[in-house]
Amino acid sequence: MERVAVLGAGMTRFMRRAQETGKELAWEAARMALDEAGLTLKDVECVALVSAPDAFDGVHMKGEYLADGAGATRKPFMRSFVGGGSGVFAIIHGWYHVASGHFDTCLVVAEEKMSSTMPHPQAAFNTIYDQFTERPLGVNLLWIFALEMNRYMQVHKIPLETIAQVSVKNKLNGLDHPCHQEGITPGPDLTVKDVLDSEIMVWPVHRLMVSPVTDGAAALVLASERVAKRMTDKPVWIEGVGWHLDSSYWTNRDLYYPKYVEYAARMAYRMAGITDPRKEIHVVEPYDPFAYKELHHLEGLLLADKGEAPRLLEKGVFNRDGELPSCPSGGLLGVGNPIAAAGTMKVAEIFWQLRGEAGARQVARPVKRGLAQAWGDLMQVGTVVVLGR
């Protein structure tokens, strides 16, 4: 198995509604990643692409539609999709291409344009529910998050104030991200009270605990050790990858703990030779489409005991200057949530953190190893990557 490095990362601004088409967004992100890697399209041997359901765009076979913008013309091309988990699945998928020895370079592109469905992508989202036993009840997507969040809060007796603190941390972090979606953070003096005073959408979920609808793209350039050593003095290596899927009978399992995230993390830790993740992971970007999800996922990643993440948050452990900085980018709550591209933005953040290039977002502690995680489908998929230098 070949060792695989990340040579460059790129992204567009994250926007509620972008003037650019999906193809144009994909091209902008891919171009930045190639520039940063010091490569051109002719150096790219294959392309791995992720994008969420075709229904968002109303464009069937969206992978093929996006392929030109993703640099895949006349190249081996593959699209994968695991809902919100896709953004980290993308690098796993790209890793396979290079680790197999088939290719020396792979361009990984993640694109999402959610604003095309009018007036809101909700109707497309609802089709994730079971068409026989769930959709006829008049579901909306927030229901399942509210149900999971309440279960998590009830089992561990977590106060709503603590969950609101996640929103404050990430939204303030996001102000330092040049790509953050306009208006995603109400202001630099955002407080827990503001979050709790924001509209209740589906209790216990308040508006400021939800990541927004976003257009945007992100991209990565991967290379084999042979190429990486010629191209850079600061290679960032893919040390571990893991992914795992649980049953779509989601009402038959206890939502308080994401077991599938744990299995994905264990797989990645094993590959990376990590035995004590709390000491060996120095910065983390867990998936945070909703405020409670960051805590839920930190537990699934074994970076906190079950029910312990809220207390560590209160102690400031997950702040940028804390012992285990979490979502220093601002995450989905503070930068934006273009579904499939959101996780790739997180991988890009870990890449920039490891190279010491995150500027105002750079975490205080020295970092040699970081983790990005995404999540998706019907509360059922976990995707994990460990990067190190």
């Binding site: 909306n140 589906v202 290039e357 977002r361």
Partner: protein, 175 residues
């Protein structure tokens, strides 16, 4: 130096589309579907029509599940038997929704819940709505508790169609 640098993208406001500042092309999808309910859900819905909740049981995995399926996804063998379970259960989790399926605000909130069904394996249930629990958040939070016992309220027999909505909602039940 802070990455990413000079990221591109032109943000638009809804207003820009309305006043024609940027051009758009519109398209309306007409897509109707009729799904065959299949073997397991077909029989489940037949049961609902008769006012019964049917589950399937796997003896190897010692598991009784709803919604029923014809195979056990754990051992991948056929399910061994159909069993009628009760129309009572306990609230596993619930929420209070102020928005409809298409994000239209609701005046009276709905109360979606996962109900663990009596007679199924522990922790096994399905999603439905709770009713007769109040009209506003305070009242609902006072009356609904995780772990509380609930009972199905059925549509009148002559109005049932063999659908999940043959159960109107679950209501609190005295212990």
């Amino acid at each position: 130096m802070m990455k990413p640098q000079n990221a591109r993208g032109v943000p638009l406001k809804d207003e820009d589309l309305k006043v024609g500042k940027v051009l758009t092309t519109e398209w309306r999808v007409k897509a109707d579907y009729a799904w065959d309910c299949g073997i397991a859900i077909g029989r489940y819905f037949d049961g609902l029509k008769e006012g019964k909740i049917l589950a399937t049981r796997c003896r190897r995995c010692r598991r009784t599940v709803v919604p029923p399926r014809i195979f056990c996804e754990w051992c991948f063998k056929p399910m061994d038997e159909w069993v009628e379970v009760r129309d009572t259960g306990r609230v596993n989790t619930f929420s209070v929704s102020y928005f409809s399926w298409d994000m239209t605000p609701l005046e009276k909130p709905e109360v979606p819940a996962v109900v663990e069904i009596d007679g199924c394996s522990p922790g096994v249930g399905f999603m439905h709505l709770l009713g007769e629990v109040g009209d506003n958040l305070d009242e609902i939070l006072r009356r609904v508790k995780v772990g509380m016992k609930v009972r199905a309220v059925w549509k009148p027999a002559d109005q049932r169609t063999g659908a999940i909505t043959d159960i109107l909602y679950f209501k609190p039940e005295e212990e």
